[in-house]
Symmetry: C2
Subunit: 344 residues, 2 copies
């Protein structure tokens, strides 16, 4: 193993404090400094990890000559400007999702990273869940048949955000899963969003994504829901699949089903029954991914892509597609749910 990769953290709130231990336990990385404007967050870091220095201002960290990489785990509105400064200074950048709040800004970051030949990694953690990889392989190999539809729900009660709405918080996960799993490109987004808790922030929404190949996806988010879940259902022509994606409780279940072969193109012939019988044949839970931890795998990929000068799986260009879906949704919800084309 060569020289360690020196990393600085910007932001040590809820997620930053989850991420920090993964970097600390990565043999390739050395975390040099953690900065946060909130003294409470700095104190929490100092107490848990007394060996790490902390700082109030991020300015020094972003341009620190000793650092190879910068991890940005701040509220979404600051991602663009912080990532831009770090890339400008020639750093490899890990930025939390979303990459930015505007597609134009995302494009700037991707171009800048390309010009500087540095790694731009966006934390779409689900790409590193081996369960998701397994589902992707099953889809590519045709095990589920033709894919008709994805249904994603991210429902919870607990962490209602004050600085961004439910779409910008949850959709980066769901859009990344949709784009990673499906071979087709997104065509349009309708986003129906509602505000019940705070006057300016949607806390409940439903997105309808249509893909170029006719596949569709519904994404349902709700910050006030009795069940705490992150669930994906894949509707295929041969099989159905349910992925429970909460990190603490992951499972993948596959359902074999059968639709009786009595369809004649939709014309009802006299004497034919008015229903097409269909039935479930088998249900089985898949194994083999539960002991692998997605966030640690993401950190590993980030560090290796720096060392090997290659793009990580969750690279800036991929995230631009996610951002295009997010932005289309944003425009849709502001146009009262209108269908908005997704533009790259």
């Amino acid at each position: 193993m060569g020289k360690k990769i020196n990393v600085g953290f910007v932001g040590a709130g809820y997620w930053g404090q989850k991420l920090l231990p993964k970097f600390l336990s990565a043999p390739d990385a050395a975390v040099r400094v953690v900065c946060d404007i909130h003294s409470g967050n700095r104190a929490a870091v100092q107490q848990k990890f007394p060996q790490i220095s902390t700082a109030e201002s991020c300015e020094a960290v972003l341009t620190d000559r000793e650092l190879d990489g910068v991890v940005i785990a701040t509220p979404p509105a600051s991602h663009f400007s912080l990532a831009k400064k770090a890339l400008d200074a020639g750093k490899h950048v890990w930025v939390e999702k979303p990459l930015a709040l505007r597609l134009e800004e995302g494009r700037d970051l991707v171009q800048l990273a390309r010009a500087k030949k540095t790694v731009l990694f966006v934390d779409h953690t689900f790409l590193y869940d081996p369960a998701v990889t397994m589902i992707r392989d099953m889809i590519r190999q045709g095990e589920l048949g033709d894919i008709y539809h994805l249904y994603l729900q991210r429902l919870n009660l607990g962490r209602i955000k004050r600085d961004s709405n439910v779409w910008w918080n949850s959709a980066p996960h769901d859009a990344s899963i949709v784009l990673y799993l499906l071979a087709s490109r997104p065509k349009s987004v309708n986003l129906h969003g509602y505000r019940y808790l705070q006057p300016n922030l949607e806390d409940l929404n439903l997105a309808v994504i249509e893909m170029c190949d006719g596949t569709s996806a519904f994404i349902y988010h709700n910050w006030l829901y009795p069940e705490n879940t992150a669930k994906l259902t894949v509707i295929g022509s041969k099989r159905l699949l349910v992925y429970e994606g909460k990190f603490e409780k992951r499972s993948v279940t596959v359902y074999d089903y059968e639709v009786e072969d009595s369809m004649d193109g939709g014309r009802l012939m006299d004497g034919l029954p008015t229903t097409i019988p269909s039935k479930m044949i088998a249900e089985r839970e898949l194994q083999g991914f539960q002991d692998q931890e997605p966030l640690a795998a993401a950190v590993k990929d980030f560090l290796e892509s720096i060392r090997d000068s290659r793009a990580p799986l969750s690279h800036g260009e991929f995230s631009l597609q996610v951002l295009a879906v997010l932005e289309a949704g944003d425009r849709s919800v502001r146009s009262n749910g209108e269908k908005i084309p997704v533009e790259f």
Copy 2:
């Protein structure tokens, strides 16, 4: 008890055969004749209930002078013309949902019943589920706080219809529940529908209903889904409620929750945390409705409304509102999911 109410059946398919025993066991009713164009359905009725005469043609039944009421349990496309004939002949009419396929036709039926002074009953069975009545009372008494949102799912695998799409099959139930529970009127419907199994019939859809008072409802239908469920979730400002509405497995669960009172109108003040903590306090399952059977209660209300010359709970005017939502959805799905105002 006075003279029995003589009833004739038109249609003895899947649902007609479920309904027939409820009329046979009602002490007020005498089922005189069951007609069905399919010999298989007639044979099934003859075998199970040898005392009932059957007929191939419905014409005689609809105008039979001996019959007080006619039960129409045929495919949706025939509801209007059959109900019209029966009402024209002065009969009391039980018609399966939906009342008709066009609002204009529904209006004709309601006017005709008014002119003839006969009962026009539409089978929105959920109005007779005591669990639904209980939820309505809780909402009216403010036990759930302000109502924000309803989420309804009707998902199954088994009976894929060949003669009508998933919206016209399932939405009469869900729209009737929404309109019965909420005090406000429906303002608009977006319907996003997709066809995967048959070229001309949607098998999967998502409706967004906005009510005049700002409440919203999502209705999700899918004919290919691993879980067989009919579930309503009510999001209120004080409590959340989940109603499992499959007749064979009904339950109502209430969740008390708390959102920390630190909201200041959406402006993020320096030093305030970026999330609003919220948490579940208690969960309890309600009792007292499981032994009551909705369909038998519906039959009882229909018969008593004839005897007492009064409107049943599920009367034609109520069903016209359901039909207005159905028609708006129908127009929306044909306009690619556009928001369509609901007109009465």
